[in-house]
């Protein structure tokens, strides 16, 4: 223990009677949360692992010419234009690795703070429970966007190095400039993040149910997987449009000209519906929860 104590120092501890509370900028805690999420080594490692995929896929395609129709979507286009590496990578990552990253971040959110006891420290500051939930959700979404964006950026760079770059031929046969294609890549990253936001909302809710973050993470990841399995069972095709993961891979419609907004809209609405259900549930649960850790 450091014993270099200077307790004798006369520092006022008691509030001046007239110190009227002033509302300072509410985003300070959000910035703190961002730093917490983005500086965390585990999260950095997750992003790094995700970034390996565009590199691996790029090298694999570069060294072994594929026949059209083989492998994941957009793979055959990669050799024509490096930018398609972004879309191939996201298609490969979206079913499992991206939801896993989001499940880890969202499952950790409330349960992690509850588990190590920092939730009680925040609440007595005081930070209202509503604010804790919103700040944590926002932090999770930023992390999801960071994951997606990192994959996209690495995809662009690897594509530039290994493959031709220039005008790109879209899925609809139209040709657009490299700059426009980059714009599409950004739109795809945003769409994918919105898709993950629904899962993140579920993760927030699960996270309010426990003080064991790993449990919340596993449950959330499991839900994403179950949804995808259900989406592949034709006998229950009636519920497919309502499944969380159903619209995830629709981002291909962003690679048409004109953009297939209708499918995208449906997809975004599906995720918004999940957010609208699970965030209030998370709020209600957290609001009445006894913080006894």
């Amino acid at each position: 223990m450091s014993t270099s104590s200077t307790l004798e120092r006369p520092v006022p501890m008691v509030a001046a009677a007239d110190s009227a509370p002033r509302r300072s900028f509410a985003l300070r805690l959000f910035r703190s949360e961002l730093a917490l999420v983005l500086k965390r080594r585990r999260n950095i490692a997750l992003v790094a692992v995700l970034c390996c995929f565009p590199v691996l896929i790029g090298i694999a395609v570069h060294h072994s010419p594929t026949t059209p129709g083989d492998g994941p979507p957009f793979l055959s286009q990669v050799t024509d234009n490096g930018l398609f590496l972004v879309f191939t990578s996201l298609t490969v990552l979206l079913p499992f690795f991206l939801p896993l990253a989001v499940a880890i971040a969202s499952g950790e959110s409330i349960a992690g703070e509850a588990g190590i006891g920092t939730l009680r420290s925040l609440l007595v500051v005081p930070v209202s429970r509503t604010r804790v939930l919103l700040v944590k959700y926002a932090g999770t979404l930023v992390f999801a966007f960071m994951c997606t964006l990192a994959v996209a950026v690495v995809g662009v760079i690897v594509g530039l190095i290994l493959f031709p770059h220039g005008d790109a031929t879209l899925l609809s046969g139209t040709t657009i400039s490299y700059g426009q294609t980059l714009g599409r890549a950004v739109l795809v990253a945003i769409y994918v993040t919105v898709m993950l936001a629904g899962l993140a909302a579920i993760g927030m809710f699960v996270s309010t149910l426990t003080e064991v973050p790993i449990g919340a993470m596993a449950a959330t990841a499991l839900l994403a997987i179950i949804s995808q399995i259900a989406d592949n069972i034709p006998q229950i095709s009636g519920i497919h449009p309502y499944l969380l993961t159903h619209p995830w891979l629709s981002f291909g419609d962003l690679l048409r000209s004109p953009i297939g907004w209708h499918t995208l809209q449906t997809g975004i609405l599906t995720e918004l519906a999940y957010i609208a259900v699970f965030m209030p549930l998370a709020w209600a649960r957290l609001q009445t929860k006894d913080i006894s850790s």
Partner: protein, 333 residues
């Protein structure tokens, strides 16, 4: 064992403390505050706390007696099953947003992010406080760290901190800004004797500046020196509340006789109507229970007991504490 010798004849439980200042002056007040956990276990059973402003209130009780649950309810972390409570005159948990910035709290030991430094942990808590300007954050954190003697270790990751340093950081969080009320749950846990002394000094300073201090402990001796008031919890109930002198007075006088004839002496004492005498090889001890000590002396001598020494004493607070809360190693359910 040191015991104070008393000459006065006044014995028994003291009368209720004079209710001086208006009741609105209480820093903490609870009425019938109760916590029943879903399993049906009653952790806190209808307690009426009254902590006067400016007091250093020792909240005592063995582990598991309901102290921490009470503190969690006071701060709004845990909902109460029944009863009401207020902090600094405002009802809780409704007024948490306006009251808690004026309350510094350490609940059940320090809890921080292990991979952030001590300073970054405090910065994070400071960033959550919307009632302070962002500008002074570094200064507030620096001052708090200095107060608890952690300046040198401020940049170290929390996970590298020793238990004592962690406890200090917890105190620094409670002292992040000037407070009107400090609620500290076992602040001396894990501290070495010097650290314990420093905490006592901090409490005295805070009280000296006008803050009310509510400090829990399972060790009476650790906080006895700084307390003005005490509340004693046992099995979820508040079994004593009052000033420290009140507590002392609540401890009945007892007589200790040193003699070579303990059996005979015990017989005499029993005849006089004292509490059940306990015999030892070198004498006998009994609660006086209102029997005048000079009568004891006279009767003993008349009965031919060779009295080597006769002492009228008050059990020390530790013994009284044990008497109030029950002996033994059993943890309350």
């Amino acid at each position: 064992m040191t015991a104070s010798t008393e000459a006065t004849g006044s014995v028994g439980v003291a009368e209720a403390p004079p209710s001086g200042p208006p009741r609105a002056a209480a820093a903490i007040r609870t009425t019938g505050l109760t916590k029943r956990f879903p399993g049906g276990q009653v952790a806190v059973n209808a307690i009426d706390l009254e902590v006067p402003r400016g007091a250093v209130y020792g909240f005592l009780g063995p582990n598991g007696s309901g102290k921490t649950t009470t503190i969690r309810m006071l701060l709004g972390l845990v909902g109460s099953t029944a009863g009401e409570h207020e902090l600094l005159g405002d009802p809780m948990p409704g007024s948490a947003g306006t009251v808690l910035p004026r309350v510094g709290a350490l609940v059940e030991g320090p809890a921080f992010h292990p991979y952030l430094s001590g300073r970054d942990n405090l910065m994070r808590l400071d960033s959550g406080d919307r009632t302070v300007p962002a500008r002074g954050a570094g200064e507030r954190v620096g001052t708090a760290l200095e107060r608890v003697g952690l300046t040198a270790a401020a940049g170290k990751r929390y996970r590298k901190y020793s238990l004592g340093m962690r406890q200090r950081l917890g105190l620094a969080a409670a002292l992040l800004r000037p407070r009107e009320l400090l609620v500290l749950d076992e602040p001396t846990n894990g501290l070495d004797p010097q650290g314990t002394r420093e905490v006592r000094t901090l409490l005295r300073e805070a009280a000296g500046e006008g803050a009310t201090v509510f400090v829990s402990s399972h060790l009476l001796s650790e906080i006895e020196q700084v307390c003005t008031d005490v509340g004693v919890m046992s099995h979820g109930r508040l079994v004593f509340q009052g000033s420290l002198p009140d507590l002392r007075r609540a401890a009945g006088l007892r007589v200790r006789v040193e003699t070579s004839q303990p059996a005979l002496a015990a017989e005499v004492l029993a005849r006089l109507g004292t509490g059940a005498p306990g015999t030892r090889p070198d004498g006998v001890v009994a609660e006086l229970d209102g029997v005048a000590s000079d009568r004891v002396t006279a009767e003993l001598v008349a009965a031919g007991v060779d009295v080597h020494q006769l002492v009228v004493e008050r059990p020390d607070l530790e013994e009284l504490f044990v008497a109030l809360t029950g002996e033994g190693f059993d943890v309350d359910e």
